[in-house]
């Protein structure tokens, strides 16, 4: 039965594809004319983002109208109540014959290019998830660009910065409303490129360009998975899509329907989902490819903020949420107690949280916090907590963006461009009250302080994970909540409490915390220098301009001349000891305050504790879980919008994700479970969080306080703790593993070895084989045997890699004739083989 026919979708819904077009045009304009404009192109960037935001808001408004209309369109309360019931709380609820309503996504597609009879489309797929992400990305981008106005003022590549920032948002928006996988890849790669440009914005510094390359290449490793996964899914879904929808195997709607149809081979789904998830591991900084994310802090703070809140890193999470049925079926999410996604997510959330404890750089703490939260989202998705994970994307964006902007504000005005919490911060709460207040709100929201944004989303993830039978990960969620609260307390303490140090004190103190400083390993030191160096080139101009802008500043800027004298002390990273800390200007504070406000209220979009009228997000975002007639899903052809009648599910209809739809029907989304809100679980989580606050604060005031006591320098005295600390400081040696072992092994010796092993085989001499055998024996004896006994696996493998290269090097004579001989020998052998085979 048709509940309500809604033929015209509304202008904004029909034209949602304009949203990414606006920033892309903005990018072109900035690149071409930016430098000649009065504000160096930044006005175009902000205008285009505001344009995108207005369009997104219009789209969201009309989408909500559409959903409400589909639910009957009378008074709000009953519509929502029916909607909630209809969205299928669980198997039993839907099976007992409650109503489910299908709100058709607004899908449009145009042919982009054709190849071999296959049409690659560009278009839009506007449903609740897309709408939420659109509004989130556009909104955060606007705020970050406003923040950047002040933050990077006077930078030598100011125009390019805004151009890249705008295109970056454009890439994310393209991906978010992608109608098909090809368009999704387009947006995904656009972001990859822009993140490279932005992280390496101050590329004069070698460390920055290295960080940019690292980010790019690490993500690229995962991107192989995206291509492979898309190909697998395409070949799996194509026939189904052509038969039923007249589209092809790239269409996201068709992929989802195919995955749930019961016709798909489980193996195809399994490998497709694994390959796609590998892409998400790279993009969303999951273990073991999370190493690029903290290094990406080399970019300017607004970039970190944008990158880590709503764009780039949530792209992976978004991908999983987007083609969720593929993962649902491929990894058998319902009914299992562990799977690939939930495992990776769980590991990530835990190890990243541990790493956050040993960082001295405030941005790196936040970076690891992001990694940890992304792990939590993935864990939620892997365990079937779809709406909770999507909700966490939403809330996380606000408070994490706020935290990053606060860190930027602190560095800008409080610690003179240093991000080192131990050296240049401390006690800033009095000098920077507004930043402090916003930081506290965002921290509370992140850690799950009751009734703030993070409380609702995080608890919902944990509760759903527990309800779906992923017990281990349920407890792991609590551990993660504890750790999050603890390391954020540490960061807060170091930044805003205690005694001011270094730049925050306005002058250079003696080395009061000698032991702690000794702990700082080389890498942390280098990082500090990176920031110092980067700001030395670009930041000073900015700060001078800033000084004029803030003439009302209480502390004044009378000590510019003292700068050189201070540097002469030899403390390079203390180069800014001449400014007293002060509050930032309005351009910095306004975005921060808006975000802090949203960190408080965003959670009430999905606060099941207060009844169903507070579960709006689920109503608006979650697709229907009932089977729909395939005709209703039909894509109406390229360039046309499909107006599908929202349709109530028949009584007793089967639920998607557990039973295959009957012929002529299709499912687009599995029936995910929604646990009822439990005050007991929320209470336990709250107690854990408060305990973490208390313990961490007490420990911090002991360890970092001025009073001397036993805890200070403990890691230096106690061997076991010291080893643990070193292990964490070195980031589990993963970077060493990648750079010293994997990269070196792949880049140099293996390629050489492969080439030369070929030649040797072709040579076919017994002698070479014998020698090779002996060398292998020696190699095994020397490196594997002894290396294993020594327990220096990492160093050993590194040496082994270069050893192999060295051993094989003499074979490369450089004589052209010899190469020729080998070539012809190979050809002759090949010919011989062919002849023998043919006989």
């Amino acid at each position: 039965m048709l509940a309500h026919v809604n033929d015209s979708a509304g202008w904004f819904l029909e034209h949602a594809w304009l949203i990414p077009v606006v920033p892309v045009i903005g990018f072109v304009v900035i690149i071409l004319f930016g430098k000649r404009m009065p504000m160096k192109g930044s006005e175009v960037g902000i205008a285009s983002m505001v344009g995108a935001l207005v369009l997104s808001i219009g789209t969201a408004y009309q989408w909500i109208q559409r959903v409400d209309a589909a639910h009957g369109g009378h008074d709000e309360g009953s519509a929502i109540a029916r909607g909630i019931a209809g969205f299928g709380r669980s198997l039993s609820a839907a099976a007992s014959g409650e109503e489910s309503t299908y709100v058709a996504p607004v899908i449009k597609s145009w042919t982009w290019w054709q190849s071999g009879g296959l049409e690659f489309g560009l278009g839009q797929h506007i449903d609740g998830l897309a709408v939420m992400m659109l509004i989130l990305v556009a909104f955060i981008s606007v705020l970050v660009q406003i923040f950047s106005l002040e933050y990077v003022r006077g930078d030598r590549r100011y125009t390019h910065f805004f151009a890249a920032l705008t295109l970056f948002s454009g890439g994310m928006l393209t991906m978010v409303l992608a109608e098909n996988m090809v368009q999704l890849i387009l947006g995904w790669e656009l972001m990859g490129l822009c993140s490279f440009m932005l992280i390496g914005h101050w590329w004069e510094d070698k460390a920055n360009s290295r960080a940019a390359l690292k980010a790019f290449f690490t993500v690229r490793v995962g991107d192989v998975g995206l291509l492979v996964g898309t190909a697998i899914v395409f070949f799996g879904a194509n026939a189904f899509a052509v038969d039923n929808f007249g589209s092809n195997g790239f269409s996201i709607q068709a992929i989802n329907a195919w995955a749930m149809s019961g016709e798909a081979s489980h193996d195809v789904l399994l490998w497709g989902s694994v390959a796609l998830f590998i892409a998400c591991i790279g993009k969303s900084g999951q273990f073991p490819l999370h190493t690029w994310l903290p290094d990406a802090m080399a970019g300017p703070t607004p970039v970190s903020s944008l990158l880590h809140s709503s764009t780039m890193v949530v792209a992976g999470v978004f991908l999983v949420a987007r083609v969720y049925p593929v993962f649902w079926e491929g990894l058998s999410i319902p009914g299992s107690s562990v799977n690939f996604i939930v495992l990776i997510g769980g590991i990530t959330t835990l190890i990243a949280a541990f790493l956050a404890f040993v960082q001295n750089d405030i941005k790196k703490v936040l970076a690891y916090s992001t990694v940890s939260q992304l792990g939590l989202m993935m864990m939620g998705l892997g365990a079937g907590a779809w709406i909770a994970a999507v909700f966490h994307i939403f809330t996380h964006a606000f408070f994490k963006c706020c935290l990053f902007l606060c860190a930027g504000s602190v560095a800008h005005s409080g610690s003179h461009h240093s991000f080192d919490m131990k050296k240049d911060m401390g006690g800033l709460r009095k000098a920077m009250p507004v930043t402090f207040a916003c930081w506290m709100i965002a921290t509370a929201a992140l850690t799950g302080f009751p009734f703030l944004a993070g409380f609702w989303s995080k608890d919902e993830i944990i509760a759903t994970v527990g309800k779906n039978g992923y017990d281990v990960f349920f407890y792991l969620g609590f551990v993660s909540a504890f750790l999050t609260a603890a390391y954020m307390t540490r960061a807060t303490y170091l930044t805003f409490f205690g005694t001011p140090r270094g730049a925050a004190a306005g002058e250079h103190h003696g080395d009061e915390h000698g032991e702690e400083h000794e702990q700082a390993d080389d890498e942390a030191h280098v990082d500090a220098l990176v920031h110092a160096g980067a700001h030395a080139t670009a930041g000073h101009d900015a700060h001078d301009a800033h000084g004029h802008a803030l003439a009302h500043d209480a502390h004044g800027h009378d000590a510019h001349d003292a700068h050189d004298a201070h540097d002469a002390h030899g403390h390079d990273d203390h180069h800014g000891a001449h400014h007293g800390p002060h509050e930032s200007g309005k351009l910095l504070l306004v975005p921060i305050c808006i975000l802090a406000f949203l960190s408080i209220v965003a959670g009430f979009l999905q606060a099941p504790a207060f009844g169903e009228s507070f579960e709006k997000l689920k109503l608006w975002v979650e697709p229907t879980t009932a089977p729909i007639a395939t005709d209703d899903l039909l894509v109406g052809g390229f360039g046309q919008s499909v107006a599908v009648a929202p349709r109530a599910a028949a009584e007793g209809e089967k639920v998607c994700g557990y039973v295959a739809p009957s012929p002529g029907q299709a499912c687009i989304f599995p029936a995910v479970t929604h646990p009822p809100f439990s005050w007991a679980k929320a209470g336990v989580a709250t107690i854990i969080v408060f305990a973490a606050y208390a313990i961490s604060f007490a420990l911090c005031s002991l360890v970092y306080g001025t009073r001397r006591n036993k805890l200070q320098g403990l890691t230096g005295r106690n061997k076991l703790l010291g080893a643990g600390h070193r292990f964490l400081v070195n980031k589990y040696y993963l970077d060493d593993l990648y750079e010293k072992v994997v990269v070196r092994a792949v880049a140099y010796p293996i390629s050489q070895a492969a080439y030369w092993i070929n030649q040797r085989v072709l040579d076919g001499t017994v002698d070479a084989v014998g020698k090779g055998g002996r060398r292998t024996g020696e190699w095994i004896y020397r490196y594997v045997d002894q290396g294993a006994i020594d327990g220096l696996a990492v160093n050993g493998s590194g040496k082994a890699a270069s050893g192999t290269g060295g051993a094989l090097r003499p074979l490369q004579s450089g004589k052209v004739n010899q190469y020729g001989a080998l070539l012809f020998g190979a050809a002759a052998l090949g010919a011989l083989v062919l002849v023998i085979v043919n006989i």
């Binding site: 490369q812 004579s813 052209v816």
Partner: protein
């Protein structure tokens, strides 16, 4: 059979070419030997083309002649540069590619 003669000629030319590439020290001689090899391939192509009464082989032979001309151009340019730098085009002295 007629075709056998062609193929035999091709094989002989090929072997001479391979011998030249492997044994000669003079870079120009090596380039000439490579030409011999390419032309032996051409002869084979033409022979088979004739056998099957199909023009494809002829076309390929034309392509190969063009490619060979280009290759010799590049090769001679390299030899010239090497000579300018080292006053010698003896290949056995050129082992900078070692590594």
């Amino acid at each position: 059979m007629l075709i056998n003669n062609f193929l035999l000629l091709g094989a002989v030319l090929f072997c001479i070419g391979v011998y030249g590439v492997i044994a000669r020290k003079n870079a120009v001689m090596v380039l000439m030997s490579i030409e011999l090899i390419l032309n032996s391939v051409n002869i084979n192509l033409l022979a088979f083309s004739m056998l099957h009464g199909n023009a494809d082989g002829n076309t390929f032979a034309l392509y190969i002649i063009a490619v060979a001309a280009a290759e010799v151009g590049v090769g001679l340019a390299m030899v010239l540069l090497i000579y300018r730098n080292r006053k010698s085009i003896a290949l056995d002295e050129l082992s900078e590619m070692k590594g």
